[in-house]
Symmetry: C2
Subunit: 602 residues, 2 copies
């Protein structure tokens, strides 16, 4: 028997040869019984039963039970006694059938165990700060600090494998339909429009800076001008934002651009991708083509540009019913061009006054003037608003909303945007309260025809709803000169269960039109030339019609993994304040480094 312990002559170092594995810990089956094999891995658990030691040995591929029996090998058994959780070992022995009744059907290797005849301790381990198992109590900070242990947990290994699969499926898909993968620069020019850029001082060019890409938007359009025809890339993007819970300073997108296309080509291509992802990762057949809603429809039905359509509670506009009513609030709203709308919450007719007060506070916190509610009882509809609306109008509202006995009606009156946005939030709140969301469902849909611009009250200018390179709808082009806020864009989002998982547009490919849109966005001609002159120049030399889309990898992985946080599908995520707790980035740097970069901390 060959046997290595940690050699003390090497100052406790682990610089040793070791016996290499013949199989992984997830591989052995009944058909391997009788073979002498070697496994390597981590001690998952060690149990001492009547003098015999049982070790579950773990690697990425699974677990295998190893038996150390003193009657087989006393020395090996004795060394096994020193094993602790997370020790790294190499163990050699014979594959045996487990005794009848001791098989473990929940383990792929549960039919067999290994009778150990040789044991090498490759590395020791301190007691980990949390156990290496799926359900742990550790808070996220501890998990992120000891990410190398957190990633050993089977659930995290599974998440990383789902992400790995997504990469491969995506690239094989695009390769199969003639897309070309092109890497675009990470060190690019700063052109902040929307979010802040991360900047990188140039050492060679005194006082100048690179920026990290918020997306490779300009490059992918340049690639279309370059005749690449169909481009894709899975690429890191960067935004220096004040992070919300579900954002990271660096994030990954599947970036796509195509020439000589319209929206239909993008939809077909993107639907093909999500179909493959669901089929190959979750064995779910997504029905194609996907539903499409215009932005207007999505807002007026669900109060969101990324509606969760796994449940109903869709809205009804009752402007026609109440426009001419005595209820001044409603009538005034309609007169001013606003909206009175609402939805029916099934089975909520018996909500207490207290429950209704909570919901009223909920919508008031979102800026609503109030919440009108109506109980649909066997005796008709009961509502404090009856005194203003009259019995007839109340009944007409009940009919318009198709309310049944036992339901509660909620109504909001406000401007179009506010009324529907607040209703959208209330709809989600009611779905949660009523437990209406079936987590096993996967509802995908397109939201299309977004507005080109919205007016930013802070900056006192139009800002692009998608981005400045988005084309307007052909029939709305004339509106750019007259009422730009009414112009719709050739922009589209793909929504999964209430999450935007992709967004894109058909682009402007004409220099004059691009200049006009820059102008509408308050970007001066000089600034446009300085920031985007190269694109305007490129459009001089034969730019093809083109369009594209980008998928958010982190969010899709989160949804495919059934996780609640994108941090659980990113190997080394940062905290909400942009810190890496494992290695303590960002950190202070040497004065010499800064001197070379010609910058000083203020």
């Amino acid at each position: 028997m060959q046997f290595f312990k940690l050699s003390s002559s090497l100052n406790g170092s682990t610089l040793i040869n070791f016996t290499k594995r013949t199989h992984t810990c997830g591989e052995l089956r009944g058909s391997d019984i009788g073979k002498t094999i070697t496994l390597t891995g981590w001690v998952d658990t060690r149990r001492d039963l009547g003098g015999v030691i049982f070790v579950d040995l773990r690697d990425r591929y699974g677990k295998t039970q190893v038996v150390f029996n003193p009657q087989t090998n006393q020395v090996v058994h004795d060394v096994a006694g020193s094993l602790r959780s997370e020790f790294v070992i190499s163990v050699t022995g014979k594959v045996e059938k487990r005794p009848d009744g001791t098989e473990n059907p929940s383990l792929a290797t549960g039919e067999i165990d290994i009778l150990a005849d040789k044991l090498e301790i490759l590395n020791k381990a301190d007691t980990p700060p949390f156990p290496i198992e799926d359900e742990i109590q550790a808070n996220e900070e501890v998990r992120l600090k000891y990410r190398y242990l957190d990633l050993r947990r089977p659930v995290m290994q599974r998440n990383m494998l789902i992400r790995h699969k997504l990469y491969q499926i995506t690239r094989n898909y695009f390769d199969s339909i003639n897309f070309i993968e092109v890497e675009t620069p990470i060190l690019m020019k700063s052109t902040p429009e929307g979010a802040r850029d991360y900047l990188v001082p140039s050492r060679v060019h005194h006082g100048k800076f690179y920026a990290l890409p918020q997306s490779p938007q300009t490059y992918k359009q340049i690639l279309m001008v370059a005749g690449m025809d169909r481009y894709f890339q899975i690429v890191k993007c960067f935004r220096d934002e004040d992070l919300r819970a579900d954002r990271q300073p660096e994030f990954t997108q599947i970036d796509i651009e195509m020439s000589f296309v319209d929206e239909e080509d993008i939809y077909t291509m993107a639907e093909g991708l999500v179909h493959r992802l669901f089929k190959e990762i979750k064995n779910i057949e997504i029905q194609l083509p996907l539903t499409r809603l215009s932005y207007k429809q999505a807002m007026e039905l669900y109060g969101s540009d990324k509606p969760d359509t796994r449940f109903g509670l869709s809205f009804t506009n009752i402007n026609e019913v109440v426009g001419n009513s005595e209820f001044k609030v409603f009538a005034d709203t309609v007169k001013k061009g606003g909206v009175v709308a609402g939805f029916t919450a099934p089975g909520c007719a018996n909500y207490t006054r207290n429950q209704l007060d909570v919901l009223t506070d909920f919508v008031k916190n979102l800026g609503a003037g109030g919440l009108v509610w109506m109980r649909v009882t066997e005796n008709g509809i009961e509502t404090p608003s009856e005194k203003f609306l009259g019995k007839e109008k109340v009944a007409a509202i009940g009919q318009a909303l198709q309310a049944a006995v036992g339901d509660m009606i909620f109504l909001i009156s406000d401007t179009w945007a506010k009324a529907y946005t607040i209703l959208g939030a209330l709809r989600l709140e009611m779905a949660r309260r009523l437990n209406l969301i079936d987590e096993t469902k996967n509802h995908l849909l397109w939201v299309t025809d977004f507005p080109m611009f919205e007016y930013d009250e802070t900056e006192k200018r139009h800002v692009a709803v998608h981005h400045p390179f988005t084309s307007s709808k052909i029939e709305d082009a004339a509106l750019l000169d007259t009422e730009p806020l009414k112009a719709r864009a050739r922009a589209y989002d793909l929504v999964l269960n209430g999450n935007e998982i992709a967004g894109g547009s058909i682009r402007i490919y004409d220099r004059t039109m691009q200049s006009k849109v820059f102008n509408l966005l308050g970007i001066s001609q000089e600034e446009a030339q300085k920031k985007f002159g190269f694109m305007l120049d490129a459009f001089r030399y034969g730019a093809p019609p083109h369009g594209g889309i980008a998928f958010g990898v982190d969010r899709i992985c989160m949804l495919l993994s059934g996780e609640k946080s994108i941090r659980d599908v990113i190997a080394f995520p940062k905290t909400a304040s942009g810190m890496s707790l494992m290695d303590d980035a960002p950190s202070e740097v040497d004065a010499m480094q800064l001197k070379e970069l010609h910058v000083r901390i203020v």
Copy 2:
């Protein structure tokens, strides 16, 4: 006939619907004759022959000839008269057999042409600064400024496609052998060791900085501690160096790490990859296993740690022949532990004195004391050194170097490192002069057993030849305590035709050993803890034995494409001073941006 021109009502914009292609410009064959089809693309050439206009229409997939005959459609013919190079058009018509004798066998679509019945101009084009063809006169600055035009050239499209293929082959290979692709952060901690880091000021954490990774080295080792077992990633890396011709501030590597392995596993895995790349991209069958040379052998045979073995001119050490000679220079060199060695240049016996002076200057510029040369003539060996060496020694040298009549012998005497390095340069110079390099050959080999450390005279300390995480050879571990410069590392490079295309090592996975190596590198315990504490901590919790390698994607693509510059296989490369000429990065940024980052330009 449906027909669109640029609509002047839209202010000259190209915001129009267009007829979408049914085929690409590389697709139509004889079997398509008679079909009515639509193509889109760029006007490559336009010829006017006897009233009929011929246009070669180009896209990424090829070229197709389109015929505009006034007898088919007068209006369309007239519009075709306004077409210029690089206009973007959509053209519809019937696929025809070309008249006998006018077929173009050099074109995949050369059997047919399209008789145009409809033409839409999708975008116009100014005259490009250089023609869109493979052989152009434009200097590289112009090509980089107009990269969108440069990338339209067929040779650049081919290069980008080779790169695309390399990505797909690589990932499919690693996926097929159980590797998992994991993305590692781009915003990481600054740990400069060797090259300078690019720094990114943190807005949220005043006075702190992220760094862009010089490689994901620490992360991939952490992934091994995390039990990921086999990791790969095609990843961007960054080094703020004073750029040499063949370097870029950002470059791409295929990054690989494996657990429970030794060198043999790495070699097998890497050889499998290069075998696939050559087979699938160039249809060349690389013979496996690859040759291996130790660093010592490579230096003593070829004077390089990345020898070009497509030709001979290997060296012979003649210390034994000349060590006891009267030639003081040689004898002293041998006495001091140096080397006298040289090689035979076939057919160079007739070199003129002038030619020999040029070569002597060549080696003197590299630091040699001089160049000893010997002509092998029919009358024996002629050399000025005969008066010091004597006839017998000279003959013995000729014999040792197996020189034949007509050859020239070159000898250098110096320290081991200098003698072989200078001989290595002279060997390459002679190969170029003698045109010995067969560009169709592909010679791959491993160079192994590099030294752990070299002594940096400027910094007055040991520096790692590979990197600080490299394990020493097991049998040399004791040398770390006594003569560290003699210790060999478990490090290896993969060399193709004289270019290092990959490099890696078996890593240290023990905390004590890692600390010892940091110490040898002059990294204080405090500094080691500050920079790499998280790795030393990770090694406490069961680090498996592991090793890896990284391939340089840019260089491999360059070699597979037969290009001379990596810039020809990068879509948007930077110049030697790190500038992007197309979009003018790096550039000045707004004072507001810097203020938010708490930095000031000095």
